[in-house]
């Protein structure tokens, strides 16, 4: 099912939680609503599910205007952050409960619940109570309960935040598998960029109630619309060097170095931020380099090393192959690739 949002706004008294959102979620896709806490992503999810009323704007499921439709008529399955499994019911009863509400005959609903349990791999645990399950298993049961009434839209609120690191990896792949197997249009909320990048077809990045950018994970990473998007995605975070434009060069703010920029939009004397992905900075030679840096320290990250360098009074992190051996204070010649290097306006953060 396709979900369309048209100028959607949510206000809590004077606070605007979601501001003038217009976008579209395509049928059968897994979409991540990503953003720092308080950005309005959960508010957005609750408006889609119908738990929260909309202040302004419209929501369409395919052709149906569901803006003022109560949650139960929208055909959405909802998975809560802490799962909200009924503690007094067994796994089977929990999964079957939405059908029990619909007064489906007991035999039929148990059959369907067992089918769902098989899909999410909890068919061995049907007689257990929620407290006898691990976090990951509870999550699976919650997903099965959300899916049993064949919803048109599956909504997951921070589905992985209550799990430990290992389970998180496992469950995010499980969510992807279940979503692909059922083909249900899915929207999930997360504040973890890695989570969003790894499993979603599309990421919707929000900040302070405003849409920042929406695109595929790789596109978003490679082509950020503004400094916030560039900073939010990627680990280690992108390097920011501040400076200004002079004679077609980017000059560091303390005048300790400059780089030629081929960007017609950059205006003379404009205050800018140069964003450089850690993997886009390579080691050059004395003859062929963009910037000189001073080696500070390094951390081992397993397959590679992360080096901290100083450029003037600013700092930059780059990946370093273990072939290089630098001492603190050594001069490092940096050569930047064209990919993964962006110029942003310092004031507005907009990509130039």
């Amino acid at each position: 099912m396709q979900v369309k949002i048209d100028h959607l706004t949510k206000k809590f008294d004077d606070v605007v939680a979601v501001s003038d959102f217009t976008m579209q979620f395509d049928d059968g896709k897994l979409v991540a609503l990503l953003g720092p806490s308080g950005c309005g992503k959960s508010t957005m999810l609750n408006m889609l599910s119908g738990i929260l009323p909309v202040s302004e704007g419209k929501i369409y499921f395919d052709e149906d205007d569901v803006t003022n439709m109560p949650p139960q008529d929208r055909g959405v399955g909802l998975v809560f952050q802490n799962y909200a499994l009924y503690p007094h019911m067994t796994v089977l009863e929990n999964i079957a409960f939405p059908l029990e509400i619909k007064k489906v005959d007991k035999k039929e609903r148990e059959e369907k619940a067992k089918e769902m349990a098989k899909l999410v791999h909890v068919d061995q645990l049907l007689d257990r109570k929620p407290k006898e399950l691990s976090g990951g298993q509870q999550q699976r049961v919650a997903i099965a309960r959300a899916l049993i009434k064949k919803p048109r839209l599956l909504l997951l609120d921070e589905p992985l935040s209550n799990l430990d690191a290992r389970l998180r990896l496992e469950m995010r792949e499980e969510i992807r598998r279940i979503q692909l197997e059922t083909g249900v249009t899915t929207i999930f909320v997360t504040h973890d960029q890695e989570e969003a990048m790894s499993i979603s077809d599309k990421i919707v990045l929000m900040k302070d109630g405003y849409l920042q950018q929406e695109d595929g994970p790789q596109e978003l990473y490679d082509d950020p619309a503004n400094l916030f998007v560039a900073n939010f995605l990627g680990n280690p975070p992108i390097n920011n060097l501040t400076g200004y434009i002079k004679d077609g060069y980017f000059v560091l703010e303390d005048d300790s170095g400059r780089i030629k920029v081929n960007n017609e939009n950059a205006k003379e004397n404009q205050q800018v931020v140069l964003g450089i992905r850690a993997e886009s900075a390579l080691i050059g030679t004395k003859e062929d380099h963009d910037l000189e840096a001073i080696f500070d320290q390094q951390y081992t990250m397993g397959k590679e090393e992360l080096a901290f360098l100083k450029i003037g009074n600013q700092q930059i992190r780059i990946y370093l192959s273990s072939d290089y051996k630098f001492q603190k204070g050594d001069i490092v010649y940096l050569k930047f690739r064209s990919k993964g290097v962006y110029l942003f306006d310092k004031e507005s953060g907009v990509r130039i």
């Binding site: 599910s49 119908g50 738990i51 949650p71 139960q72 008529d73 959405v76 909802l78 809560f80 802490n82 909200a84 009924y86 503690p87 007094h88 019911m89 409960f97 939405p98 029990e100 509400i101 619909k102 109570k129 407290k131 009434k149």
Partner: protein
Amino acid sequence: MEEKKKKKRREDSGYIFNRKYEPLIYLLPFAIGLLIFTIYPIINVVIMSFKNGYRLSGSYNGIGIENYTYVLTNKYFLSAIKNTFIYVFTVVPIATILSILIANLLNQKIKGISFFHTAYFLPMVTSAIAVGISWRYMFNKKFGVINWLLGLIGIGPIDFLGATAGVAPYNMLTVIIFGIWNMMPFTIILLLSGLQNIDPMYYTAAKVDGASSSTIFRRITVPLLAPTIFLTVVVNMISAFKVYNDVIPFWAGKAGALGTNLYTMVYWIKETFYSKLRLGQAAAASIVLFIIILFFTMIQKYIQKKTDY
């Protein structure tokens, strides 16, 4: 060297003494109080129940189970047991069910809810005897407001407090109504706090799935409230078995309009002890009451364990 070792050993043993006995010293003040005021009287009642004697003089004569055979064949004590059971098994269920419904209503977000909170909790801070006396007027056959209200819908008048031709069919009803009224505030407070401990997430989850409020109440609220309901049932049942206060206000301290028709177990024990000074029989009756309460409490504990989640 040898001297040092010895000294160390002495210090060690002092340390162990402290670890072992120090806590006991801290517990002692409370333990002594408990022994004197709780354990000793219980043991004394048990001993007393096997002794034959009338006075507090200590000059008992004979030891045996005569007290038990007496109370268990005494017509009035048997009717007291019957009355107590009727009271317990009507008042506790009705008060519990009404309290669940009212607590659920009080848990809603309604304007002016705090007024209702206060109104429902008021009986808790009033004296049962004092309020009972005003209830006595409300129950009056000729002038009582209850009969007036019943008259409006064409019932009555009912002689709640009186007796005709040696029978008083409505005396028990009076005590039961008063008992329910008395029991509800405390029950509502406990249930309300139980309701407030239920994560609203469960309601949201059920609502998204389209559950009606009656389904939510039946399938989610009540099961999640079950531990609290059991607690109130246990506490209320224990106190209901000891019913005494609820009988006193209506017949100027007598047990019903006929003076004997509304004996409860505690009422009979009190009368036997204070008025008749038959200490052994009163003690034996107390033990019978104790065993009955213990029995029902055990049953409830067993059920509670089975419903624990």
